[in-house]
Each structure stands twice: as C-alpha cells, then as structure tokens.
Symmetry: D2
Amino acid sequence: MNFDYSEKIIDLQERLTSFFDTHILPVEREVNEFLYHPDNLWKPWPGMESLKQKAKEEGLWNLFLPKAYGDLSPGLSNLEYAPLAEIMGRILWSSEIFNCSAPDTGNMEVLAKYGSKDQQKQWLAPLLNGDVRSAFLMTEPQVASSDATNIETSIVSDGNDYVINGRKWWSSGGMNPNCKIAIVMGKTDPQAPRHQQQSMVLVPMNSPGLKIIRPLSVFGFYDSPEGHAEILLENVRVPKENLILGEGRGFEIAQGRLGPGRIHHCMRLIGMAQRSLELMSKRASERIAFGKTFKDYSSIRQEIAKSQCDIEQARLLTLSAADKMDKFGNKLSKDLIAMIKVVAPKMALKVIDRAMQIHGGKGVGPDTPLAHFFVAARMLRLADGPDEVHMYQLGKSIIKKYAE
Amino acid sequence: MNFDYSEKIIDLQERLTSFFDTHILPVEREVNEFLYHPDNLWKPWPGMESLKQKAKEEGLWNLFLPKAYGDLSPGLSNLEYAPLAEIMGRILWSSEIFNCSAPDTGNMEVLAKYGSKDQQKQWLAPLLNGDVRSAFLMTEPQVASSDATNIETSIVSDGNDYVINGRKWWSSGGMNPNCKIAIVMGKTDPQAPRHQQQSMVLVPMNSPGLKIIRPLSVFGFYDSPEGHAEILLENVRVPKENLILGEGRGFEIAQGRLGPGRIHHCMRLIGMAQRSLELMSKRASERIAFGKTFKDYSSIRQEIAKSQCDIEQARLLTLSAADKMDKFGNKLSKDLIAMIKVVAPKMALKVIDRAMQIHGGKGVGPDTPLAHFFVAARMLRLADGPDEVHMYQLGKSIIKKYAE
Amino acid sequence: MNFDYSEKIIDLQERLTSFFDTHILPVEREVNEFLYHPDNLWKPWPGMESLKQKAKEEGLWNLFLPKAYGDLSPGLSNLEYAPLAEIMGRILWSSEIFNCSAPDTGNMEVLAKYGSKDQQKQWLAPLLNGDVRSAFLMTEPQVASSDATNIETSIVSDGNDYVINGRKWWSSGGMNPNCKIAIVMGKTDPQAPRHQQQSMVLVPMNSPGLKIIRPLSVFGFYDSPEGHAEILLENVRVPKENLILGEGRGFEIAQGRLGPGRIHHCMRLIGMAQRSLELMSKRASERIAFGKTFKDYSSIRQEIAKSQCDIEQARLLTLSAADKMDKFGNKLSKDLIAMIKVVAPKMALKVIDRAMQIHGGKGVGPDTPLAHFFVAARMLRLADGPDEVHMYQLGKSIIKKYAE
Amino acid sequence: MNFDYSEKIIDLQERLTSFFDTHILPVEREVNEFLYHPDNLWKPWPGMESLKQKAKEEGLWNLFLPKAYGDLSPGLSNLEYAPLAEIMGRILWSSEIFNCSAPDTGNMEVLAKYGSKDQQKQWLAPLLNGDVRSAFLMTEPQVASSDATNIETSIVSDGNDYVINGRKWWSSGGMNPNCKIAIVMGKTDPQAPRHQQQSMVLVPMNSPGLKIIRPLSVFGFYDSPEGHAEILLENVRVPKENLILGEGRGFEIAQGRLGPGRIHHCMRLIGMAQRSLELMSKRASERIAFGKTFKDYSSIRQEIAKSQCDIEQARLLTLSAADKMDKFGNKLSKDLIAMIKVVAPKMALKVIDRAMQIHGGKGVGPDTPLAHFFVAARMLRLADGPDEVHMYQLGKSIIKKYAE
C-alpha cells in the first residue's frame, strides 16, 4: 500500500477545502434552517444551483467518476477520490454541489459501465451534467432484501415492452422534484438459477403506474429534498431498450455497483466523524461545569482520544480498500470492502454519539450537524446490506482462508 | 426488598393493560400518522380528550401521584406505580391519557408538595384535572445547566413583583397550545451560598415578555404537540405570590422533584425496551434470509438473549430504587437513583438498537415505534443531568463508602 | 419477589462475616503465599483443617445444602444461601472452610437427591463431614462437551460390573490428594434417544485404570491443591451398585445438578466483583499521579460508578433466579438461570478488569486477589456450558414466548 | 504513507517465516511443556542457544536495531522491522532467538544511542552478541510510576561513586540467571525541575546490596526464565562512569527509549492476535455442536469477521506510526505512538478472548498459546504506562489541535 497523495490530489484537496471554507460553511446554518423547516419539504434550497455551477467551473465536478468524461470529470482512482469524499462528508448536503451524491453516483457508474449508447445519451449525459437526479429502486418492504434472491418485483416481457409490478421503499432521492429516472431491480425469470433471475431496467419517474406512496422518515428526518420514497409499480410499461446490460444480469450489475459506493459512503462517514471530533474538541475547550473546563476532565479526554484512534484506524482501512480496488478490482477486494462497510458506520456512530453527549441538549437538537450525522450513519448499518450480512460472508471467507 | 405486588396493584396492572389493548393499541398507527404528519404540527390528536375522559372514569388517572387527591388519584407508592409506568412506556404518547406525562407530573408534585393554597387552587387543580398542560423552564443554552449553579436567568424583586430575564431551552411541553403555566428556575440572589441562589416561580405562558423563539427538533422529531421550546424571557413580570416555597429554595425543590421523575422515566424506558424485545422476537420468527428464518441464526438469538438479560436487570434495579425511595426517602436513595438514571437509558438504547437492526430499513422508519423510542432514550442520557454528572457524584459517594 | 432476609439469614450473614474477619482475612496473605509457591503444589494449606473444624462448630457448615442433615446443615433455600455464597466469593479458597466448594457441593446434592442408601452411606456421609473431597468427570478433550450428546466415554455393562473407557479433562478437584471419589458421566447406550444415552457412575479415584495424566493450568494458575485434572479411564471397572439413579438417566441428573450450582457460582462471582470494587475504591482514595488523587479523576469515578451499577444489577438478577428456583423449581426457572449464567461472569470480568487497571502492575500480580478472580471468572464463561450455548437456548425460548 | 515493502523486507519476511516454520513451530509444544513445568523455573530451555546461533548465522539477528552494527544487524527502519516483529509475536518466547526481546532491545538502543564508548564496549557488545541479558529497573511499588516524577529511588553522589537506594518491581528479565546488567532509573536531584531530577545508571546484577526479593507472577504465569523481579537496592554502589548521558537526563532517555519499544510491542500484539484468529478459524472449521459445525453459526462468523476488522485496523495504524517515526522522529509522532499503545493491547485482548471462547476449556489451558497471549496483552495495558495516561496526554493534544 502506498497512501502518499500525488500532487494532483493534494491540489484537489486544497481546492475542495477552500471551496468549502469560502462557499459552503458560511451558509451552513442558513441551508439547514431552510431544509429542516416543515414548510420547505421537497423544495431544494434555492442557492444550490449556483453553487453547483461554481463547482463545475472550478473543476470540482463528478470527482467520484473513475473515468474521465471530457471536462466533466477528472477521472480519479478510488484512492484519489477517497480524501475528497471525506471532505464532502463534513456537511450532509454538500456532495450534490460536486455532483457526487448517492444514489446518482452509483447510477451514473452503472450507466457509464453497462449502459447502451442510447441510454447514456438519454440519461447519463444529463446526470453527469447535474441537470436531473435519479433514484435506485431495490429494497422491498415485504422481504429481507439484503438477500437479493428474495426480491419479488416482476419484470415481464410483453411484446416490445417490459411490464413491471412491485412495491419498493427506501428509494432515496425519489421525493426530489428533479428526480427523473429510476433504475429498478426486479426479476425477469424467477425460474433461472438464483443469481440470474434479476434484471435492471430504466424507468422514468413519470411513467404511468409509478406511484409515490409516501416519504419515509429516518428517525424523524425526511432528508428533504431528496427523501426516501415508498413507490408502487403497477403495470408500469417501459420499452425493451430500457433494459440494462441484458436479462438476468441484474445481480451482476448490483455487485459491480456496490464496491465504489461503499468506499464513498465510508469516506463520507469518516468525514462526519472527523468533524464531530473537531466539534467536540472545541466544545471541550469552552464549556465549564463544577468549576472545571470540560477539557480538564480525564473522562472527556478519553472520549476524545478514543475517537481519534477510532477514526484514524477506519480511515486507513478504507484507504487500503480503495487502494486494493484500484489495483485488483472489486472481486478480489470483496473482503476488505465488507470490512469497511462493517467498520465505518459503527465507528462513526460511536464518535458522533460521544460528540453529542459532550454537547448536552445542543447535541441532539438542530444547531449542530451531529444528530443528522448520527441518523445518516445509523442508516448505513442497514443500507447496502446490514452489518450481519457482510459479517456472515466475511467470516466464511476468513475461516476458509485460514482453515485450509 | 419485597417486589411482590399487592392485589391492588395486580388489579391496576390488569386494568391498565386491558385499557391499552382495547383503546390504545388499535389506534396506534392512526395516531402516529397524525402526529408525524408535517401539516399537523402542534395540533393534539383529536381523539385524545375522549381517551383521557375514559381513563379518568376508569380510575386510571394521576397514577403517578403518591398522595391521594379525592377521586383524582389512587395514591400509589413509587414501587406500586413503577409497573404501571412500564406499561405506559410501550407507546410514547400514551402517558398523557392517564395524566401521567412529564413534565406535568413533576410540576404537579412540586405544587402538591411545596405550593401555597392559592397556587394549588389556581394551577394544581386544573393540572390534576387534565384541563391544562405545563412546562418546566430549567436548562439554558449558554451554560452547562447540569451544574445548576451555572444558571443565569435572573429573578429580580421589584415592588410586589418579580422581574424575570433569561433564555431557556429544551422546555418540553412548551409548544403545546394547551400549555398554560411554566415553572421557571432562576437566581434571586447570585451572591448567596451556591445552593441558595436559586428560586422557582410560576410564570403563566401568556405573560408579556415570554416569547417562544422556536421549537427544537430532537434528531428529526418535533414531538408534537408538546414540543421542546426555546423561550426568551424579557422583563417578564409576575406577582410575588408566584414564588414557590421561598427565595433561595429553588435548588431544594429541584432535588425533591427529581427522584420520582427519574423512576418514572426509567420505568417507561424499560417499557420501551420490553416492547422492542417483543417486536424483534416477532420479526425474528417471521423473516427469512439466505434460506433460514432469522430465529435460527445464533447471532440473532444472542441479540435477543442479551436484551432479555439487560432489561430484566434494569427493571430489578429500578424497582429496588423505587422501593428504597418509598422506605427511606429521596436523600438516602440518591445513589440508587443515580444508578438507574445511568443504567436505564443506555440499556434501552442497546435493546432498541438491536431491534432496529433486526427490522432492517423498517426499523429506522415510521412504521415501528423503534426509531422514536431510540431518540427518546437518547435524550434521557442528557435530560435531568447527563450520565457523566450522575457518575461523577455516584463514583465519589462509592469511593467514600468503601475507602473508609 | 421478596428479597427481604429473615432474621435467621441476617444472623447467618453476620456470623459468617464475623468468621471471615476474625479467622480468614488475617491469614489471607499467608495462605496465598503458601498456595502460590511452586514448591507447595497439591499440598493443602496446613491450617485448613482447623478452620473447617471451627466453622463446623459454629454451625457454618454445609450451608449450600437445601435440605437439613441433622446438625450438619441448616437447610437453607437458594435465596437464603445466596448472600452467604457472595461472602465466600470474596476469597477463592474460603468456600472449603464451610464445606461449600465446587464440585463437592454439586456432587453432594446429586447423592442426597438421587443416591441409593448405600451410596449415601459410603460417599455422601464423609463428604458432608468434610473428610474427603470429590471430582466430577464430565468434559472431554475431543468433543464439544457443552453438547452432552457428544460425550464419548463408554460405560459398558459386564456381568456385575460396568467397564469405563474414556478421556476426561477439566476435572476440577481431581489433583487434590484428598479427592477420593468421582462421579463420571458416560454413555451406557449410544443407540438410545439423544438424552437417554448417558449415565452417571461413582468411580473411586484409586480404581485401577484411572490415571491422572496431568494437571491443567488455567491461564498460569494451577488452583492447587484442587487442580484441574486430565484423566484417562482405561477399562476402569466398578460394581453395578455404583450407578446413580438408573441407566440412561445421566442427562436428567446433570440437569438437576446444574441449577443450584449456577446460583452458587454467580453469587460467588458477585462476591468477587464486590470485593474488587471495594479494593479499587480504596486504591482510588490513596494513589496520586500528576498531582491529583485517583479519586478526583472523573474517568476513575466513572469506572467505579459503572462497577457499582453492574454488580447491583447482577446481584438482583441472581437473587430473583434463586427465588424463582425456590418457588417453582429448576425447570420453570431455566431461562432465569441461563440469564445469570451469562450475566454474572461477564459482569465480574468487567469489574475485576477495571480494578486491575486502577491497581497498575500490582493488579496483575500476586499481591491482590484480582488476577486470580479474573481467571476464575473467565473460566466460568466456559464451565457448565459456554455463554453461547446458554444464549442459544435462551434466545430460542424468548422468541417463542413473544412471537406467539 | 507508503506501506509497500521493499524487496529487502519481503526477503527478510520470507526468511523469517521459513525459519519459524522449520525451526520454531515444530518445537513449540516441547518448549512450552518445559517452560511451564514448575520444576524448570528460571531454567532456560536447553535448545535456545543453538537456535540463537542458527538465527545469527542466517542474518536474522538484532533485526530491531535501526542502525547497522557490522554483521550484527541489518539496520532496519521501524517500518521495515514492523512486519518482522509481527511474525515474532506469534510465539511469546521466539523474539529471543533473534535477539529481539524486551527489555534487551530497549536497553541496547539506550546504550547504542546514549552510552559512552566504555559502556558500549563493556555492556552493549555482549548484549548485541546475545551473550548476556539485561533488565530495566523503573517501576516502584509504592508510587504511581507512570508519573515518572513520582519515582523515589535515590542516586546519591558519594566521591567517585553513586549510592543507590530504592525498591523496584516488575523488572522483567530480572530472574534470568543470564541477566547480568540493569539500567536503573532514580533521582539524582529531587530539587531540580520536575523532568531533570532523574538519571539512569548501569548497575551490574551482582552488585552488593542488590537483592532479588521475589519473582512476581502475572496472573498465574512466571514467564520463566526471564521472570518479573521485585528488587531491593540497599546502598548499592557503582562508579560514576556508570551514569548514562549525564545527571538529570533520565527522563530524556526514557522518552527516547519508548517510541520504538512501543512499535515492537504493538506489532508483536498484532502477531498474537493474527495467530489467534488463525487458530479460531481452524477450530471453527473442525468442531461440531448441536448438529452444526461451528463455522456455520452466524455468531461465530461474526466473532471471526470482527477480529479480522480489528486486527487489520490496528496493523495499519501501527505501520503508520512506524512510518511517521522513521520520517519525523519520536517527538512529532508522539500522538500516533500513544494511539497504537492504547489500541493494540485492547484489540489483541478482544481477539484473543474470542479465540479462547471458541476453543472452550482448551482455550484457557496450556495446550494453546491463547491464555498466555491474553496475559501478555493484558500486561501491556499497563506496562510502559497505563492506557489512561496515554489517553490523558493524547486527549489534551487533540483538543489543543482542533480547538485552536
């Protein structure tokens, strides 16, 4: 492993940090007040588009995309993107400014990697340009969807069309008025071998029969304007050209989609934890109780010391996973990717929780990013597969490795 | 310790459980949908008053109150009330139905114990009758309020009045349109000995100069219709008759107020945890992944086994604290009360978190009580003093006990 | 539950405590130095017999035995014995003084409950009198013995004899020169239904063919003079009269044997933890580093506060299990017994570990009981079934209870 | 950070691993049986010297030493040595074979860095050659020695001599019959500024007045033949030439000594944890209970998955600390060194404990390295400063960094 950053990356880190300090941090409070206000549900913050424009102009755009697309992306490796994703993790709504927010990133990667020319023209181009947003419809309420073979949504061939029926939820981004396209995972052939039953199709959000049932809150947050939608698909009809890659290849696409996404999630979690550590350090140096500043209590120093240890370890592990993915690909890195997926959310939860506690009532309220960080991190112990599923596979793989 | 319940309590438990099963559980989903809907902020659920009436008629009213008030309360001991509070903990908004919800319970106790005849007539009577709600204004944003000597709100004598200035927050219940009266903690004499500077006064919510700045969200929840208010007090003027007990006795009242309240909080937390355990047991027996029902995974059985161990221990500890309070009073029970205040929220968080994880996405969303339970429990690691403060005192007391 | 102690028990607690203070604590250091000295392996401490005599004279003898045997035991219930076992837990080698040490207690119960008149006369009488010691040969090195159906030792009928072949280990007490009799678990009929294959037979330690292979150390301790023996049984022959209860009833006896034994173990663990808490409190009040006495560090107070919470909860849980066993028997108490078996050793390990840490180097060395406590507690996460087995059964039982 | 190993290191790793497989693992059981046998206390295993000779011949000698000494050491950086120390960690007594065992390594570094020509000739040369062993006399029973200013041993100038009085304990290596020299920390000037009171002197073990009081056991282990000695120094007289570096510079030497030693300790801990993981993986694939192989229990897979995550994170953190020390020196790396000192022992304890549990009774006995690993790791939460001291400094440093 070589984690030394190249000059290009150091430059990008500096420019991204400077963009943050200049354009984002100063409006953080204003944006939060807008987004959290019940009257503004599903309305994007009005200043977002101009910030996106600025980021695009400064070349801080589509940083997540491993392949260069003209001026639209610098084509960074996973290891190169990692420290940039960490910076974006410091404010939950900031990734969009750089067109680097989930689930668009994963969807763009899928289209870039597996999409047909037409699909790329119609959907990848506007996504890469930040003109539209997208959703990914995978999880279903009735079944344990972490076992992808449980998925029940049907995709049935009918002439030149596919007809889709099913119920999806936790479709993040689906409430956004600017969300125009969804990638839907379903079964084209329930009789095929377990991992060849699934397919993915592109479904425009305005398709007849696609009905948004309700937004789901996560803890009490709606995550406006993206939201998490419950969606009913009733005889939704799309042309066969909307199939991605081929029938029965949905599982394969899902696998390919997940690796980089997990690196992104984990690095953002590390950014959240890092910022939480900084916030609690500041708080500890200011607040006084029982005649002593917080920082002089040994227990508070311990919380902070442990947090630093936890963060730095998770950071190194994630970087090493990114490095391995760059060098050996998703498949050979699967154990490491499982490891960071298990480690990073739990680590972040611990650190954020300590920071909340040191902030007292303020820590669970709207005046710090901590409570929302916590909820975002908690969700990531479930999203893209619950910890238990990753450990089940990882444990098996390690036992095999050492028992032989 | 004798935890055997008398026939009277067994009867009350059965009647309360039956009331729950008949009148509350069937409307749980409907009430939640109402309360969580952004359009209904600060509106009480319309069916609440008729449920309160029914509870009153059935003698399930003011159960928390250790002293009998005519027909209005059965006068239970802490140990007798504990199992009833556990039942109420199973649904967050259910305590109000029995006129047993914080902060009214604490406020009513203060008025019953320390209030003047006039204060009791004017404020205790309608509170006991469930006609109005109340708030308790203690915590301040600028200072670590767990150290009560930090409190900055001033209560200045001016002729026949007190003039109050300060900023309070986390004033739970303060957003409720039916909240009519607040007990405010402030300093009447900042030069007096540390624990005689504080006083408590009754301040009607419609007093000129009392301004609700905003509702605070806890994680994303607003806890409508009660809410948690940030309140500005600018030259708020109340007659001297509104002083409770006497100048400089605020700290003493606060101490007396806390013991029973902590028992109530802890027993409700145990109810939350118990219900979470039941929910995850059900889920484990239904859900299937990778060819096995959840309940056949040894790791899931462990989560459930541990939860049962955690709950039962915290329950016994809380009962033993209630028993000791009944027999020896607040002061001699202070170590045990500190112990349950540290133990119960953490225990509940662990159990609820396991239940969420087993529920997958559903566990963090609005369709189970788990996410809201979690937030309520998390807040209780801070409310009424953060864990750290309790452990600081408790540790000192134990060292003293054993080192001598 | 009613945990109030009767006057009889309060009197026994006081007399036992006084015996401890007068006769045991003053020689603790001397005894430890004797027992830990490599030259004294397998030699009982010379003063032991006179202490036993004294305890017997004072009626502090066979306290564990639920049934009264003439003058030899007061016939206490589990709940009554529990606080006495806690006191004995404060010094590892003290139980023997009161003829209350494992595995003799379990063996005596088996003989009292299931033994024939002859077996009782020959073996129970001298055990109750403290004249001899005994061993229990259950666990086998080749198989996971927590699943009793795995056990491989064969007990084959041959004329008027049984012929026994097998290898046992962790036979606690087996190294003691005064150990004269063993109860051996083996299979009389490997073809019978799973839980009727096993039988228990009495095997004198001097039987030809019974060979002590070696003492096993636990961490580095040999636990002299009792020790933990690895024992080979090669064609060991005993008369059929040595069978206990009947062929195929070994599993049934094992079940009956375990309940009270677990209460004893757990209460002793609580005694270990309690003493560790007292020791660390003393240490915290004496030791100084970086200009502050340990007790003034908030982190040390937290360790102590948490320990008190942990101990008191486990104590109440164990008492409630003892109470339930007394009232409803082993079978209906099995969930609670599993719970304490999982809870108490882990709790003790946490508390002892904190105490070790606060003692610095002294804490892991021979000058405090802490290191040996730790090892004893660690072993109890395995002995009588590892935590995992208890949680596996307990989790199943709870899911069943709540999912129906 | 660049953790890619050079060809030289890859070659050394391979040769060291091969030496292990060929010469060490095959005799592991034999050596353990020898060392653990009470009759062999303080006797080196007879085969040790020939293995040392072999290692020296193969250039696997003094690998820890950052500076090349003729043929006697390859002069590796900390980052280069780290993976080799990890390999040595797999068997507790193996470091000596490569002349890489504590406290000799630290003592040799002190002499190499700060020793006079004469001191180096007389003591460094035989140590580097593996002819003699050494001890480091720092900790004292009466005071919290982690605060070096507490140390009470006096070093008083008297003509051409220093006269030393004090009591030391946990002098590891001090019981070894081949231990010939000790470095003693004491105070030459108790009136000097806090960190200039201390000095270090060389004291031959056969000096009149130096009396070994007793060996200390760690848990039950004596760690023969090195042992941990309690030593009384009564008017021990050494010539002034035995002073290292200068009066009042003891603290400075101690600081310089600690950094690399902590890397070594941590990498060995990682080796212990790694081997424990491998052992439990093997066990999980072999053992059967309740009809299932251990590896098919989800809870066991989780234990193994978590262990892999824990180990890999600690490994990366330690490598990054080694790398930083190599590039920026001890002082600028102090936070990272504190971090690994806190992280690695706790991580190892968790992993080893899981491995023990999966091994059942075997895991706490003498037939696996696990119990001894555990004790070694537990001691390292105290040796070279307890966790609490490191976190106290680390927390302070981080708060300062982020609060400014």
